[in-house]
Assembly symmetry: C2
Homo-oligomer: 340 residues x 2
């Protein structure tokens, strides 16, 4: 009972029926201006605030969007959420945010929780461990508007927002080649991950476009343990056919690479050139500064929120068509891929 009066009490105070007060507050045409003014001023005076649960129960909607991300300490996801929140706040929506920590089980639990309708819609990016999608299917079957961003699952027929992963990875690899790399390693995450697959394809095609042979051992699948990744990369750098170029498919693998390089006698970019998908604002102050493929995180967030809210506001008019919408990334060349 966090203080606060109900509509009924407010109505009693005004000697009006609750229905009248409700209509007055909702600016209904059937209430006279005089009454509306009286009601509104009394509501302010008594500090009346409508109970959101009563309203949600009645209207069967909560003005809440759930956002599920695999990690919070990641500039890309943080920016996407900022992008979603920007639109949501404008439109009076609230954000329930969940972090799966790249854990499929947590993802399943969270998704199951959302099955009860606590949120009107969901925007999510799946875990790198997400192989089974039955929990996502259930969500969609329930009729809950769900959209995916970045890490998507094509099995679920809905709208997805991604960046041009294939082209960006292709371009990034090509860039490394142009800068003289002959032996390029791709650092990536789970094999089931949409972005992994696409970025891998881009990398593969870039390699093949040079007439080079594709060496599967040059793709390094990393884990989610920071230290383990550093070890893996260090090992790679100390191996006989160590790479002279690395494409990191996510930011943290680039950071791990910096750490691994520190443990060796190698230097970036003379011994090893590095490029990474990353949205960190400090790419420029790393030393050497990091060449990045910057994803349009904010735009992706904006688009997700816009589409979901349109769908919620005008359900008949907007459909979450089964399509993938691509917003291109931007390559920013910095010192880590310079030819010295």
């Amino acid at each position: 009972m966090a203080g606060g009066i109900s509509l009924k009490e407010l109505a009693a105070e005004l000697k009006l029926a609750p229905s009248t007060v409700s209509r007055a507050l909702n600016d209904s045409y059937e209430i006279s201006e005089a009454t509306k003014k009286k009601v509104i001023s009394m509501a302010e005076k008594l500090n009346y605030h409508a109970n959101p649960f009563a309203r949600s129960l009645r209207e069967n909607k909560s003005k809440t969007i759930a956002v599920i991300i695999p990690e919070r300490i990641n500039s890309f996801f943080a920016q996407v959420v900022d992008g979603i929140e920007e639109i949501a706040q404008e439109q009076g929506y609230h954000l329930l945010i969940y972090n799966t920590h790249e854990d499929l089980e947590r993802e399943q639990k969270i998704v199951n929780l959302l099955l009860n309708g606590r949120a009107d819609a969901i925007a999510m990016s799946v875990t790198s461990q997400t192989s089974d999608v039955s929990h996502l299917q259930k969500l969609h079957d329930r009729g809950l508007p769900v959209i995916f961003f970045d890490r998507i699952r094509s099995e679920i027929p809905t709208t997805k927002f991604i960046t041009n992963d294939y082209e960006s990875a292709f371009e990034a690899t090509k860039h490394l080649i142009q800068q003289g790399c002959k032996n390029i390693t791709l650092l990536t995450l789970g094999k089931d991950l949409s972005i992994s697959k696409e970025r891998q394809r881009g990398y593969n095609d870039a390699i093949k476009s040079e007439g080079w042979e594709l060496d599967p051992s040059m793709t390094l699948y990393c884990s989610h343990e920071e230290e383990r990744n550093v070890e893996l990369i260090e090992e790679l750098l100390l191996s006989s056919n160590r790479p002279d170029g690395i494409l990191a498919s996510v930011e943290k693998l680039a950071f791990a690479t910096y750490l691994a390089v520190k443990r060796t006698k190698l230097r970036i970019p003379s011994d090893l050139k590095l490029i990474s998908f990353s949205n960190t604002s400090i790419a420029g102050i790393l030393n050497p500064s990091l060449t990045t493929i910057t994803q349009p995180a904010m735009s992706i967030g904006n688009e997700c929120a816009n589409l979901l809210i349109k769908k919620l506001t005008k359900p008949k008019q907007y459909e979450l068509i089964d399509q993938v919408i691509t917003i291109p990334s931007k390559l920013t060349i910095r010192e880590s891929t310079l030819v010295e």
Copy 2:
């Protein structure tokens, strides 16, 4: 209408009264095991999920905690939220998260929205612009459990979690002095901010403890525009009595310093030593690596969530006493403050 049956429909299917079904699902002692089993299995079969709004309306609680932070792309706040979420998830609580973007007006709007009880409790860190606290006072007056972390307001009589800002700033300044700095600048944020004041005190006392005179012009108040800060710092570094040591009271000011230094001919740490309050995981891969005061972000988040949930669960037993709980930070010395 996101598919899904109601308790009444479930009851009808079972030829039982809604009350019985409700009790069965809530494992009430007055329901026989046989009935419970029947109910539960039917509930699963029909994919029944309790409507959270009906429940919230009835119970007058939402199992939701609101978290308000001034910025999302900040490793400290991201970690605090992770810390809060960790406990919240365990206890079945949901998180509504709001970003004020350091804007007082937004903070007021959000706080006013929360006045309606959408969340059972609030954990927040105020904006650096927050001078007037009447909106926060209103929250507290309503009886809504509110606690502050990091950036607190002592005017509101509730529990606050911070780190040892004074001691850490003192220690950091002393460290710079020990490393040979004679002219130390403090980079800080809004004058009204609790952490600014405390860190300033720590800095001041460290300077005075050397018998040095305190030069007000050596405290630089920064803004929230990245580029503007870089310009301010660059200007500082080019001035006649440029500092040979900098204590950045927040992470982004350290980053701005790296950028500013890049624009000059100065070098860290030979010309300028730098230490910063920061929780970034990549302090180690900056070049030179950054000496940091790492705040116990995760613990702060954990404590906030624990206390709030205890207060929500056993309101009589736990009070949000007007006190400040301090969890110490940790100094990690890296290259940016090394004597060469």
